[in-house]
Symmetry: C2
């Protein structure tokens, strides 16, 4: 069984003083979140597409899905957690409560604010995860990456050839992810901004799937302008 988890838990503090979290902002003719859900809707593999939002946006999200998505039978909206990994664990709890999964069952987790994910990327995530147990979507780093630990000075410039910019989806065998997450202490849990790091900290392999430069994350107001340009180019 394969599940999708659309992570729409963020409150969008980096977007400046706006009323709505960024996943609910309009891009073209509909909310960003709807664009994202649509990309998963056209993939037939999913037992359930689980959308995770802040508590006070649950009914709004359900209304939007009813309004924009024609066939929404396999979509469910539940509450997300405070941190990214809490949100993923909420999805896993929901799956365990409602389905009989086994060790080959897979969760494809994806940022709700990456509306330009492609069918090819989602399919490759599923394939790679089936084969390897975990995978991450990345593109080669185009910028030089600079490390600075303190004092506003450069401490290192790692070799760019080995560096990638992480995107999503990030895809995992569900039971393995849940088991590895339990191995991590609370301190480390709070520092985890990334689900793949659960595997890396446990010395487990995570394979790389080729993402796409257009698979951007809409974080800042500037990104919304870029997103509009990408959208116009696709229509």
């Amino acid at each position: 069984m394969i599940f999708a988890a659309i992570l729409a838990g963020g409150s969008g503090s980096r977007m400046g003083n706006i009323e709505k979290p960024k996943q609910f902002l309009t891009l073209g003719s509909k909310p960003i979140l709807i664009h994202t859900i649509e990309k998963f809707s056209i993939v037939n593999s999913f037992e359930k597409i689980i959308v995770l939002t802040p508590k006070n946006f649950l009914s709004h999200t359900k209304d939007l899905i009813k309004k924009y998505i024609e066939d929404s039978d396999n979509i469910v909206v539940i509450e997300g957690g405070n941190l990214r990994n809490d949100t993923i664990m909420n999805a896993i709890d929901y799956i365990n409560d409602n389905f009989q999964i086994d060790d080959d069952s897979i969760i494809v987790s994806h940022d709700s604010v990456r509306p330009f994910v492609t069918y090819r990327i989602i399919e490759e995530n599923i394939e790679f995860c089936k084969e390897y147990g975990a995978c991450d979507t990345v593109i080669p780093a185009t910028d030089t990456i600079v490390e600075s630990n303190k004092d506003n000075k450069i401490s290192a410039i790692p070799l760019r050839d080995n560096l990638y910019q992480g995107q999503t989806p990030q895809t995992f065998k569900i039971n393995k992810l849940a088991k590895l997450y339990k191995n991590i202490n609370d301190d480390d849990k709070n520092k985890l901004t990334d689900a793949c790091k659960i595997f890396v900290l446990n010395n487990e392999d995570v394979y790389l799937v080729n993402g796409d430069v257009t698979n951007i994350k809409i974080t800042y107001p500037y990104d919304l302008k870029v997103a509009d340009a990408i959208l116009k180019d696709q229509v």
Copy 2:
């Protein structure tokens, strides 16, 4: 004395099958390179703005500057090198051949394909370099950065809080840069994709200047669409 080096040496192989290097592509009403030169032209500090291009584009570049830049007396076009640092060293050779510099003389090096650099960023580069000897323009990394050494697997996910995406300008005391570059063996020289790394490899401090998300590098066709969106937003 303060000099600018606009690095237009690249042949733009990542842009796909196009006739012209990317710095000569049109953005809005004029070539990208001209936008970039204009940003430096309005800063009064420069003794000379040195534009470095491939040999076969020298006269074309001179023609463009004549056509688009009203007051071009302090602009000179010379040949760049094969690698980024060769190009910077060509600029330094030119400076030494034509000016009497001292240990406080500064070179502000900048990618010709970053046309949205701001007056504020250039001024802060000059200030920080005067104070510290070298500085680099960066923004906090927004994407998770993933390291992979082999086998298409993740080898590490460094803590994002310490990571920055490098932009340009990169600004240096000229004599110090030239001296440190001589300390590096040829093997390491060929691996240097970044001028700041000359300082880092010599355990010399490089200070960070805040860049801007719009200070993008136009590398891929996709970036040109983003650039158009930024330009429209600024007009």
